[in-house]
């Protein structure tokens, strides 16, 4: 009998908020679509000649390389990320508590930095091979192998999987695992049949982030001169000077990602992963003897190659070059990187949260519409940046300049060449990064909790502020950190869209590395890594508390 008025209350309250948030969310999706539409409209122009040339010469090997890279990185980040997260959450071994947060650090290392450190150290002109060939007469070998490219990308991308899988495992109550084990499952059985399926949304989100980054990567593969699909995009653009052909190629990349995401969503279907009780205690399986040390060694190895090695090498390079670079300009670079990253992460997380709620409440067809907002991540950075320039210029010329003239103002650019365009590029690109953790933690909230709050008479905003936000907090924080670190590392969009004087650390790295002067890029690269560490460590402190 009590239910009828409560239900009325819910529907009344929700209705008042819905149109507004839905309009805002739709605008966000349209903003993401604007640069993407520029890319898709490129099909209006005839680029047959370039296509014929690409098909006749390189396209098949580029596709093969891209697939190999995707499968290799997908496999490696899954194995590394899931195994490390599981060990750290479920087992006890020497150094576990330290590794729990240390293992996230490689995320702060830009992939292209690890690439040139690996090449600098292990290539035949590097110290290792010089020594081996001088002292032992070993033949020189070329380390620029496919497997090395896969490994380098995997080592900096596995933290996406690790972070998301770790928080998923953490939020699984021990009770569920215990139940499985008391019903006769072994440790492996409980992992594969209970823990892994329950963590699946988080893991898939992590792996797809890693794969999208791989797909859009240009810097890392360029260091190894390993040709992938993005190579064809840049060849069409910088070589044949056909932005249209480049955009056509990029749109195929988009199509591929869209289909994959769609397929994954279909596979997952409307299955929901809802937890039992909140976890009170967390039981860790203590490892002993050789096994414990083997696990410690495994964690240490990953961490050394992915983090300590590049940081150490950059420290050495930075000292060699000297303190000459540490001038007032360096302070400005630092400040620009920092403030852009902070602004972008707040903005992106806010928009991603809005979209997550809209998606959550929407019907299946509308849900597909909101899913489109994820696509920005799959475009190579500079293609997206050009998309933003072109679409924003059009908006200015068609809409804003006439409006300014009508208002009797002087027509001037308010989008292109300002911080607004740059921030827009950032959130359009990194929305997918923020959505992963937010969606995953939203999915884990038992619907009965907000339902109960509403039944008890809470208004929608109150439910949002007092129920959802606190429960989403870990997800929101993870999202903010991921975006922060990604923005600090971001290079192509920053280069093209920054206003005059807004040079960042990544811009400085570009200036140095494009002339092959990696030593001089060491100091800004090191600073990027350190900046990226700060939020990672803060968040870990909070979750460990």
């Amino acid at each position: 009998m009590n239910e009828a008025p409560a239900a009325r209350l819910i529907s009344a309250g929700q209705k008042s908020l819905r149109p507004l948030s839905r309009i805002a969310a739709s605008v966000a999706v349209l903003a993401v679509l604007a640069p993407i539409l520029v890319v898709i409209f490129s099909w209006g122009s005839d680029q047959t000649e370039i296509w014929q040339h690409l098909i006749a010469t390189q396209l098949s090997s580029l596709l093969r390389n891209t697939l190999v890279l995707l499968m290799g990185v997908g496999l490696c980040v899954s194995v590394l990320g899931i195994s490390l997260a599981w060990l750290v959450v479920m087992c006890d071994f020497p150094g576990r508590a330290k590794f729990e947060w240390l293992l996230m650090l490689p995320m702060a290392v830009p992939a292209y930095v690890l690439a040139f450190v690996v090449l600098g150290l292990f290539d035949f002109s590097g110290p290792l091979q010089s020594f081996l060939s001088r002292e032992l007469g070993l033949p020189l070998i070329d380390v620029r192998h496919e497997a090395v490219v896969v490994l380098v990308l995997s080592l900096v991308l596995y933290p996406y999987v690790y972070m998301l899988a770790r928080s998923a495992f953490l939020s699984q109550s021990s009770d569920t695992i215990e139940a499985a084990r008391s019903l006769g499952s072994g440790a492996w059985g409980a992992f594969f049949r209970v823990a892994l399926p329950m963590a699946r949304p988080a893991i898939i989100a992590g792996v797809s982030l890693a794969l999208m980054e791989t797909l859009a990567d240009f810097g890392t593969v360029a260091v190894f001169n390993y040709d992938t699909f993005t190579t064809a995009i840049y060849k069409a653009w910088f070589g044949f000077f056909s932005l249209q052909a480049a955009a056509q190629l990029a749109s195929l990349l988009l199509l591929f990602v869209a289909l994959t995401l769609f397929a994954e969503k279909r596979l997952r279907g409307r299955r929901r992963y809802v937890q039992g009780s909140q976890l009170h205690h967390h039981f860790r399986h203590p490892l002993t003897g050789l096994r414990a040390w083997a696990v410690t060694a495994y964690c240490l190895l990953v961490l050394s190659v992915a983090f300590f090695l590049p940081v150490l090498q950059m420290l050495i390079w930075a000292f060699e070059v000297g303190a000459a670079q540490l001038d007032a300009r360096f302070g400005a670079l630092l400040w620009h990187s920092l403030s852009l990253a902070l602004q972008a992460s707040v903005l992106t997380v806010a928009i991603a949260t809005l979209l997550a709620f809209s998606r959550w409440r929407a019907g299946p067809r509308q849900r597909a519409f909101f899913d489109l907002a994820q696509l920005g991540y799959a475009l190579p950075g500079s293609v997206l940046a050009v998309g933003v320039v072109i679409s924003f210029s059009r908006i200015e010329q068609q809409l804003l300049f006439p409006l300014q003239a009508w208002l009797g103002m002087e027509a001037r650019s308010v989008l292109v060449g300002t911080v607004l365009a740059l921030l827009a590029a950032y959130w359009i690109r990194f929305l997918a990064v923020a959505s992963g953790p937010i969606d995953a933690s939203l999915l884990r909230i038992r619907p009965s909790i907000p339902d109960a709050a509403r039944t008890l008479g809470a208004r929608p905003l109150e439910v949002l502020w007092r129920i959802y936000l606190p429960m989403l907090r870990p997800g929101l924080l993870t999202a903010a950190i991921l975006v922060f670190v990604d923005v600090i590392k971001e290079m192509p969009a920053t280069l093209l869209l920054r206003p005059y004087g807004w040079d960042t650390l990544a811009v400085r790295i570009y200036e140095m590395t494009s002339e092959g002067e990696w030593q001089r890029a060491a100091l800004p690269a090191l600073t990027i890594v350190l900046l990226g560490l700060v939020p990672v460590i803060i968040s870990i402190k909070r979750t460990l508390k």
Partner: protein, 341 residues
């Protein structure tokens, strides 16, 4: 969480406040430059000190800068485009974003092969792409032309930078102009057959590979080697000036490329922009430009400064550098067909 939000919002407001203010300074020049900041800023500073004209600039690769110029169209605030490689300048002129300039100063300071015949862009420094070799394993008498590096004697001994770099595309483009497409493709295939290892991502790596003993000869822009020799004078790698003797294509000279500048069609400060280009082509700036990056001056009245004289005199290919732009697409096709990555 709430404090992060507040900080973020404050920063956002600060940035929005900063935006319009920084655009207020409408006087002065705006330059889009693909030349790296540390290689051009000292010159801008000098120009500003001498003339009182402030310069603001954005650095990026040539492709994105050109795309931005095109998208901004008539409203662009850029006055000048400075890029490396003639191919990029040629494309910018083709895209219609540059305007012609009549200047007697530029006509006398810059040889005609190093500027656009329509006067839409002008070379500012010469970048010579030459053969380098190991002083331990190669005698200079074994070397003659770029083309001869396709000969069998260099099997497994050649190192090259990737074909995706425009420097190599320009080199092959001028070879097509001299020898035709079919012969050039044969030569490039010969290079690929002779490679000791797959192509490198940059010229420094080519020099390092020769020094380490991975290969014996390579092709790089002179300033890469000059910079590395300046750091380490004992480096067992040195330059050879190819195509200096013989008839026709064999004696056409060292492949030259340029860095250069053009004034945008949208420029509101054409007089000042022209003043900057003329100043850059003058003796003082030319000397600076050469010293900054060990490139060669375009202005024939400037005598070579000290570190550059070390490599000796050479004859440059006098084909107009614009040809490299016109034939760039052909060059890429030839290299793709030859399997040069």
């Amino acid at each position: 969480m709430r404090s992060v939000l507040v900080i973020g919002l404050a920063l956002l407001l600060a940035a929005c406040g900063e935006g319009p203010e920084s655009q207020k300074a409408d006087e002065g020049l705006v330059v889009y430059t693909a030349r790296k900041e540390h290689l051009i800023k000292p010159l801008f500073d000098r120009f500003t000190a001498q003339t009182g004209i402030p310069i603001r600039y954005v650095t990026d690769a040539a492709g994105p800068l050109l795309a931005r110029l095109q998208a901004e169209g008539e409203r662009s605030r850029a006055d000048l485009l400075i890029t490396v490689d003639a191919g990029n300048l040629w494309q910018a002129a083709e895209a219609g974003v540059l305007q012609p300039i009549e200047s007697d100063v530029l006509a006398s300071n810059i040889p005609s092969a190093l500027r656009d015949e329509g006067n839409r862009w002008f070379g500012l420094s010469i970048r010579a792409r030459t053969i380098i070799y190991s002083t331990e394993r190669v005698k200079p008498s074994e070397l003659s032309t770029y083309e001869a590096l396709a000969d069998e004697q260099w099997t497994g001994r050649l190192c090259l930078r990737t074909a995706k770099k425009v420097y190599n595309q320009s080199l092959v483009a001028t070879m097509i102009a001299a020898r035709g497409e079919a012969e050039t493709e044969e030569i490039v295939s010969g290079w690929v057959k002779n490679l000791a290892v797959p192509p490198f991502s940059n010229d420094n790596k080519v020099v390092e590979a020769i020094a380490a003993g991975q290969c014996d000869v390579g092709i790089v822009n002179t300033y890469y080697l000059a910079r590395m020799v300046a750091d380490d004078p004992s480096l067992p790698v040195t330059m050879f000036w190819p195509n200096q003797q013989g008839e026709g294509a064999d004696g056409r000279g060292v492949h030259l490329n340029i860095s250069g500048a053009g004034i945008t069609r949208a420029s509101q400060h054409v007089a000042e922009a022209q003043q900057l280009i003329e100043w850059l082509s003058g003796t003082d700036a030319q000397l600076q430009l050469a010293l900054l990056n060990q490139e060669y001056p375009v202005n024939p009245q400037v005598s070579l400064p000290e570190p550059l004289t070390r490599w000796g005199e050479f004859e440059g290919d006098d084909i107009p550098v614009a040809e490299a732009g016109r034939l760039q697409g052909e060059a890429i096709r030839v290299m793709d067909r030859a399997g040069y990555r």
